[in-house]
């Protein structure tokens, strides 16, 4: 590996810029997408078609007073928003955008991503607990039970992939799927006939893991006001929002690498980073599309979905894959 000092610095700057841009502009995309689905225009006034809206929002959030209410846990209240942002940013390091664009090639990158994702859940727990607000505490408890329930089917599907590839390195997993969409894990019928189902389970879990509607139990604005974010204003709120959008990006990246062949072209032509970006933005659009279509689920129904449907299905898929690998 190149030991020059410039390489990490360039990567750092680029990834930070990519992350920041996504965190800011996904908010705009979400509002535009929601607008179009509801046959409105979405933001229009600030800049051409509201393109400067994220900038204006950011300025507004930054200039607001950072209010720390009385009675909150002073330290934890301040740590939580940072803790929501940092793991999502750090995850960017190990994601391979292309065969030669990767911050750091970590051998156990899949494991590392999931470890980081769990820290994001702890941020919600801390934020909700420290707020000393009843709604926030309920929200924190919900978030933890939800994240626990959905990490299991998610990890079960990942184990399937790891078994197919024989590696926990994202780079290897993506390299294994190069050359045409029939090599992608989602269509690997020679390994297991349930791979598309597996992809669906993984996608549903990543929606739930990022606390997005229809699984936004923690935020549930019509029940818990804003859940764990109720007491946060100014940039504390801003960091939570950015963390949420970054988590979506990470979730989309992970889905792309694990199931959709990473940077490979569907027809085996010109593989490269652009294919990766196209795929993750299609997935992100689906996140937005799903959010603006369904009503919210209820806590127990949500847990039922995980324990009664997703976990048995992914378990069956795991066994079938294991059998296929053993037999063929």
């Amino acid at each position: 590996m190149d030991t020059s000092i410039w390489r990490p610095i360039i990567y750092l700057v680029c990834f930070m810029a990519f992350a920041g841009l996504n965190a800011a502009y996904l908010g705009w995309c979400e509002r535009k997408g929601a607008g179009r689905i509801q046959r409105r225009t979405g933001p229009m006034e600030v800049g051409f078609h509201g393109l400067l809206q994220p900038l204006a929002d950011g300025l507004k959030l930054m200039t607001k007073q950072l209010l720390v209410p009385e009675g909150v846990d002073q330290i934890l209240f301040r740590i939580a928003p940072i803790l929501a942002m940092i793991p999502a940013l750090t995850s960017m390091v190990v994601i391979p955008f292309s065969d030669n664009i990767q911050g750091r090639a970590v051998e156990l990158s899949v494991l590392m991503l999931f470890a980081l994702a769990s820290i994001g859940m702890i941020a919600i727990l801390i934020g909700g607990w420290a707020s000393a607000n009843k709604y926030a505490v309920i929200s924190a408890a919900r978030a933890v039970s939800q994240n626990l329930a959905y990490e299991i089917p998610m990890l079960l599907t990942v184990i399937t992939i790891v078994m197919i590839t024989g590696s926990m390195n994202l780079q290897d997993i993506a390299m294994d799927q190069q050359g045409g969409f029939w090599h992608w894990n989602i269509f690997r019928f020679d390994k297991s006939i349930f791979m598309p189902v597996s992809f669906l389970i993984f996608f549903i879990c990543s929606v739930a893991e990022t606390n997005r509607a229809p699984f936004d139990m923690a935020e549930a604005e019509s029940e818990l006001i804003a859940g764990f974010m109720t007491e946060y204003g100014s940039m504390g709120f801003g960091l939570f929002m950015m963390g949420e959008y970054l988590n979506i990006v990470v979730g989309a990246c992970l889905t792309t690498i694990l199931f959709l062949g990473g940077w490979s072209c569907p027809f085996g032509l010109f593989p490269g980073v652009w294919w990766f970006l196209i795929k993750i933005y299609i997935l992100i659009f689906t996140f937005i599309w799903v959010r603006w279509t369904y009503p919210r689920t209820q806590v127990y129904k949500l847990l039922n979905l995980s324990w009664k449907i997703l976990i048995p299905f992914s378990m069956v898929n795991l066994l079938v894959t294991a059998a296929f690998i053993k037999v063929f």
Partner: protein, 373 residues
């Protein structure tokens, strides 16, 4: 799925839902005693928007109370107009021309549609679905445009007069209403039922949640879709007919499941029935004046006790008028349906999850200014 809970008194906490809360649609406050996410005790607290409407009726003349009627149930204002006008007409013995009666029915039913559409939208919002709100408002906006052309206002109508209506409807309104009926009929199966009613998430959230027995309905005097969702076939338009309702052929949807889904389905079916009524009323619309000729400017009904009830979007709205022969009411008692419907909440919500309780509250279709008159 209501799970019986063993509550330990040292583990409960009090959660104030409202008066400023996104799900209470106004200044309703519910004092919830909670054990975790389960509700141990729910206690609605009213009085945040009390405006002494009944006392105001005693202060001014009969006509001067008219604008107040629209400020109670602001979503179905015309039904309140209608109830009050009926009571006063009964007291003063005013005959209403037939065309005026038909116009009243058409506008009241249009208003009922807009109220149900708004309920549907707001209910979905309570359940966390945002997009249906905009689709319903697309349709509702057309009703408001139609009514604005006729009545001059969009929400708090003051359109009915003693002995008729303020002014006549025109051909453009009739054509527009017919177009609207066609449009809503074509949109109902897809934009409303396919997108929402058949959605598994919605079904899972509403089925078997918020179980109201018919006995509870009778106990608290619940009316309207809440009672009809519990298998009580009571609709003022059918049971105590007023105006020209007996001349129309329509059904009263009744569901016996008693849960939130039943109340949802009652309202969705009522939309279709209202469309039927409007269609028939437009077909039968007679010519003639829209206002009775000899209505004195200052009414002085004979002393007595008069009562009129109408079916508003949320249930039976009753108007009891006691006159002493003077030019203002001696006493005006307004019976608002939502007050009775809300009274159920405390008893039914016990043992529910917070999220289910809010879905249940949405299915009651509360309009707070109507509870606190």
């Amino acid at each position: 799925m209501t799970v019986p809970i063993q509550c330990r008194p040292d583990e409960v906490f009090v959660l104030n839902l409202g008066p400023q809360h996104p799900a209470t649609h106004g200044v309703l406050r519910v004092k919830l005693t909670m054990d975790g996410e389960y509700i141990v005790k729910a206690e609605p607290v009213l009085g945040y928007i009390h405006r002494m409407h009944e006392k105001m009726a005693e202060a001014g003349s009969f006509a001067q109370f008219m604008p107040n009627t629209a400020r109670m149930d602001y979503l179905h204002a015309l039904a309140y107009n209608h109830g009050y006008v009926l009571a006063v007409e009964r007291a003063a013995g005013i005959e209403v021309p037939e065309r005026a009666e038909y116009i009243r029915v058409i506008t009241v039913e249009l208003n009922r549609l807009s109220s149900h559409l708004l309920w549907w939208a707001a209910f979905l919002l309570d359940l966390g679905g945002f997009t249906p709100l905009l689709y319903a408002f697309d349709d509702r906006e057309r009703i408001l445009d139609l009514l604005e052309r006729i009545t001059g206002s969009r929400l708090t109508y003051c359109y009915f007069r003693f002995g008729g209506v303020y002014n006549d409807i025109d051909d453009e309104f009739i054509a527009g209403t017919r177009d609207f009926i066609k449009r809503l009929r074509s949109r109902l199966p897809r934009m409303y039922h396919d997108l929402v009613t058949h959605n598994i998430i919605l079904i899972k959230r509403l089925k078997d949640i918020g179980f109201i027995t018919p006995e509870q309905c009778r106990k608290y005097g619940a009316t309207g879709p809440v009672a009809r969702g519990s298998g009580i076939n009571y609709d003022v338009r059918k049971n105590e007919p007023y105006s020209v309702y007996p001349e129309f052929d329509f059904d009263v949807p009744v569901y016996t499941e008693c849960d939130s889904m039943a109340r949802y389905m009652v309202r969705m079916d009522e939309i279709e029935q209202s469309l039927r009524i409007i269609e028939q009323a437009l077909d039968k619309l007679p010519d003639g004046p829209v206002k009775a000729k000899k209505v004195p400017k200052i009414l002085k009904p004979a002393a007595g006790d008069y009562y009129a009830a109408v079916e508003a979007a949320r249930g039976a709205f009753g108007c009891r008028l006691v006159c002493d022969g003077g030019k203002s009411a001696y006493r005006l008692k307004l019976r608002s349906p939502t007050f009775s419907n809300l009274s159920l909440f405390g008893e039914v919500a016990e043992g529910m999850l917070l999220a289910d309780a809010l879905a249940f509250m949405g299915s009651l279709d509360l309009v707070i200014p109507e509870i606190d008159r």
